[in-house]
């Protein structure tokens, strides 16, 4: 059978890309440098299985972390983590995704 190659595997962060961490932390949503955009494309373009997402608890005020299942019809997995700002949620998930890609744990 034809193997579907995951095109996002074409890029992985390099040691030089550590400079993008601070750029992201300051502005997780909006205008980014081309290098940060490439990193985020890698992170945000992941398949749906175990992919981080949010569930609205209180509109514009409280969000709960969750993961999609990747299987249509199968419930989201709710995680024991809440945020009071979208930027905080983005920063938390960025750190998890950075670790998954590089093995490096970023401090809060």
């Amino acid at each position: 059978m034809v193997d579907i190659h995951d095109a996002t595997e074409n890029y992985r962060p390099t040691p030089d890309d550590r400079r993008l961490i601070e750029e992201f932390r300051k502005n997780p949503i909006g205008h980014h440098s081309p290098d940060l955009q490439r990193l985020l494309n890698r992170m945000r373009g992941a398949p749906m299985a175990d992919k981080f997402c949010l569930v609205v608890v209180e509109p514009n005020r409280v969000w709960q972390l969750a993961k999609t299942s990747g299987v249509p019809g199968k419930p989201l997995k709710m995680l024991d983590k809440r945020f009071n700002s979208m930027n905080d949620a983005e920063w938390y998930v960025f750190r998890q995704r950075w670790k998954a890609l590089t093995g490096e744990t970023l401090s809060d």
Partner: protein
């Protein structure tokens, strides 16, 4: 999660007329109120949620009951006919399975679940199968044991000879792939006979199970195409089968013919015709896809009207849904005193009434009688296209398009787990094929006040229906008198639905239009009507409404445009009407012809702002920008992405039809690279099509006069309404909107 869900039989209703609400409620009781919807945005940083309860006879407490949905399409033929009298038989069809490995899927089923009698031709992981029964404990299944290759045509047949009690299975691939092992012919002698006598309906594409509150419920739903299903009254030999599979059954075999359904006839209808003398006509249930290429499609004709004999296939899906068919719980006869507007049935249950659902609808002005100079056109065709979309939970690109994490609402969680509520035209079916039909006769849980959509940018995160309440909220806050009509009113009544109004105001995202709607709006403009297009991506897709069945709409994602799926080659023509589907741009009617601007780019993270262009200072139109400074940023604020220019944006283009006399008043700047030029502009793809580089990524604010004193103002941004309420409505987006609306509504000349 959601203990109460509901829908209505109509999307709009005039005073004195009745609208019915069908409610599924897990609690023993629910409360119903009719509310006028004003602002559905729960964002505490916005103008606040606003609804007004109105007293009606329908308001009150009701008994709750569970109502379920039976999804999955099939053809139903009334039972008790000549098939029940058969002793020997042959079932045959061409099939193109899309999920053959999934489970048993019925192709032709004459089966009584109660009696366990009949015969079911099916396919599944064990290849072609025939299940036969002669009563309880006397059910036998024979299979070829040769799995099918998906998305390939086969001719299949199963016969039963009562004299020898022999079943013969015939599985014949019509492809020529090397290395597959999917051809089979198998004979099996049964231990017991077969009993065909029962009065259950015969079904194609699923197996009848039971009747449930007026609906036919089936099991073993098939995914894929069936073409030319036929039944003969004896077991045909192999050579006879080759004659039986010919386009027309002739000669001696005619004597044995029991049924020969021709799916290429009646493509626009829900009717299914039997070409045999028995006339075992049936009907499609839950709208399987028609006008589909058949086993003999050559690729030389693209339109089913030109070669219906090559479009003899119906594509069935186990998640198709047309009419949920629930029982009526609440009936509202609209009091004559109720003003036209946006309303909803508010349905609540639970101890503290903490569980709720809303069913929005428009109350029209009295028939034939406008009650205001302003008409707000509620884009219900576009709401239907997006009805119950699952991209946030299903599509890996959602977080790329949004440039951030996807936010899920309780409705999203419910929809993810209740796929039987049906999909949108942005989804694919469970077999991966595109959803080309959508219905409003089911709860549409993303067409709700208070709902946030992942597509709605940062901030209030609003999209479509709930974003449009910001325009309603602004009309109310500014004290305008307005009527509300819906797309379906425009479709069915034509220009008569709007010609009494001085101005029609659009919602943020009026994307889907039938030819009837398009023609009505064009005629309105040419007769002096004035259009305020306070959105973007408008008049983009061509759609068709079914001519027999209310509340169901078709879109074919043909050769161009931003498409969540792609129609298969040869399937670009609407089955409902025979019209060429796809983009209006590819039908010779680019949006620029009707609006001055048309879709150019999209991105769903943050919005931006406009800067004035030289035309805005010309003396004849400078009234539009009265009160706006020369270098002022227009809309660098707002609840939808933080700006007035965003999400989806349109641009003027003379080559696509922007009138030569159009004034380019302002253009947006500084979009992020999440914004990308739409694919219909990319004949050769090239680097630099993001918002930070491409000059095509901009919203053009345009005005132009039309014949007989008419005119068009286009904001060209979906985010526009999210900026109207900023700073208590004292802002330049609100000011420009007011300048234009006052002038358009006044009847005064549009050029100074």
């Amino acid at each position: 999660m959601m203990k109460i869900t509901a829908y209505a039989d109509r999307i709009s209703v005039a005073p004195g007329e009745t609208i019915n609400f069908m409610v599924n409620c897990e609690a023993s009781r629910f409360e119903c109120d009719i509310v006028q919807l004003i602002c559905g945005d729960l964002n505490p940083d916005g103008p606040g949620y606003k609804e007004k309860v109105v007293r009606t006879a329908a308001s009150g407490r009701y008994k709750g009951r569970r109502q379920v949905i039976h999804a999955g399409s099939f053809v139903e033929v009334p039972g008790g006919g000549p098939v029940s009298a058969l002793e020997s038989f042959t079932f045959a069809a061409y099939v193109w399975p899309t999920t053959p490995a999934r489970r048993e899927q019925a192709l032709i089923a004459h089966w009584s679940t109660d009696a366990q009698r009949g015969a079911v031709l099916s396919l599944g992981p064990q290849g072609l199968g025939l299940r036969v029964g002669a009563g309880r404990g006397r059910v036998q299944t024979v299979t070829t044991g040769k799995p099918f290759v998906s998305h390939e045509w086969y001719f299949v047949a199963a016969s039963y000879d009562a004299g020898s009690r022999t079943v013969t299975l015939h599985q014949e691939p019509l492809h020529n792939h090397v290395g597959t092992n999917d051809a089979a012919r198998k004979r099996v002698k049964l231990k017991q006979g077969v009993g065909m006598a029962h009065d259950a309906p015969l079904t194609l594409g699923a197996c009848f199970e039971r009747f449930d509150a007026g609906r036919t419920a089936c099991t073993a739903h098939y995914n894929g195409k069936i073409d030319s299903p036929r039944i003969a009254s004896r077991a045909l030999s192999e050579s006879e089968l080759q004659a039986f599979r010919a386009p027309r059954v002739n000669g001696a075999l005619l004597h044995d013919l029991v049924a020969a359904w021709d799916f290429g006839a009646d493509i626009t209808s829900v009717k299914v015709s039997d070409a045999s003398p028995n006339r075992l006509d049936g009907r499609v249930v839950n709208m399987p896809a028609r006008g589909m290429t058949g086993w003999n499609w050559t690729g030389e004709e693209m339109c089913w009207r030109h070669a219906p004999e090559q479009y003899g296939a119906i594509h069935f899906h186990d998640d198709d849904l047309h009419d949920a068919g629930w029982q009526v719980d609440v009936s509202l006869t609209v009091p004559k005193s109720l003003k036209s507007g946006l309303y909803a049935a508010r349905l609540r249950c639970g101890k503290g009434l903490e569980d709720e659902d809303y069913v929005p609808f428009a109350i029209l002005p009295p028939r034939g009688q406008a009650t205001a100079k302003i008409c707000f056109l509620l884009p219900t065709a576009s709401y239907m296209a997006y009805a119950n979309e699952h991209m946030g939970s299903d599509a890996p690109i959602a977080q790329l398009l949004g440039g951030r994490l996807v936010e899920h609402e309780r409705q999203d969680l419910f929809r993810n787990e209740h796929r039987e509520y049906g999909a949108s035209c942005y989804d694919t079916h469970s077999d991966g094929s595109g959803v080309c039909y959508t219905s409003r006769l089911r709860p549409i849980l993303n067409m709700r006040p208070k709902y946030r959509s992942w597509l709605g940018g940062t901030g209030s995160t609003l999209w479509q229906f709930n974003a449009d309440t910001h325009t309603i909220n602004w009309l109310e806050a500014m004290g305008y008198d307005y009527d509300v009509i819906t797309d379906e009113d425009l479709h069915y009544q034509g220009v008569a639905a709007i010609e009494q109004y001085n101005v029609v105001v659009t919602a943020s995202h009026p994307e889907y239009h039938s030819k009837e709607m398009w023609d009505a709006m064009a005629a309105y403009q040419q007769r002096g009507g004035r259009l305020m297009y306070l959105g973007a991506n408008g008049w983009y897709w061509r759609v068709a409404f079914h001519r027999e069945q209310a509340g169901v709409m078709e879109v074919r994602r043909a050769e161009g445009g931003i498409r969540a799926w792609e129609a298969r080659t040869g399937e670009y023509y609407h089955s409902f009407t025979g019209e060429y589907g796809g983009l209006w741009r590819r039908n010779g009617r680019a949006p620029q012809k009707l609006l001055g601007t048309g879709f150019t780019a999209q991105g769903f993270d943050i919005s931006s702002y406009y800067l004035r262009k030289p035309d805005s200072f010309r003396p004849e139109v400078k009234w539009i920008m009265a009160g706006v400074g020369k270098d002022e940023r227009i809309g660098d604020f707002g609840l939808i992405g933080g700006g007035a220019a965003g999400l989806e944006i349109d641009r003027a283009d003379r080559a696509l039809g922007t009138p030569p006399g159009a004034y380019l008043l302002a253009s947006s700047v500084d979009h992020t690279d999440i914004y990308l030029v739409v694919c219909e502009e990319l004949l050769i793809n090239y680097p630099g099509t993001g918002g930070q580089e491409s000059e095509l990524v901009r919203a053009d604010m345009v005005f132009y006069p039309t014949s007989n004193g008419g005119g068009v103002f286009s904001a060209s941004s979906i985010a526009w309404p999210g900026s109207l309420a900023h700073d208590k409505y004292r802002n330049n987006v609100s000011r420009i909107t007011k300048n234009v609306l006052d002038r358009f509504a006044s009847g005064k000349s549009l050029l100074d």
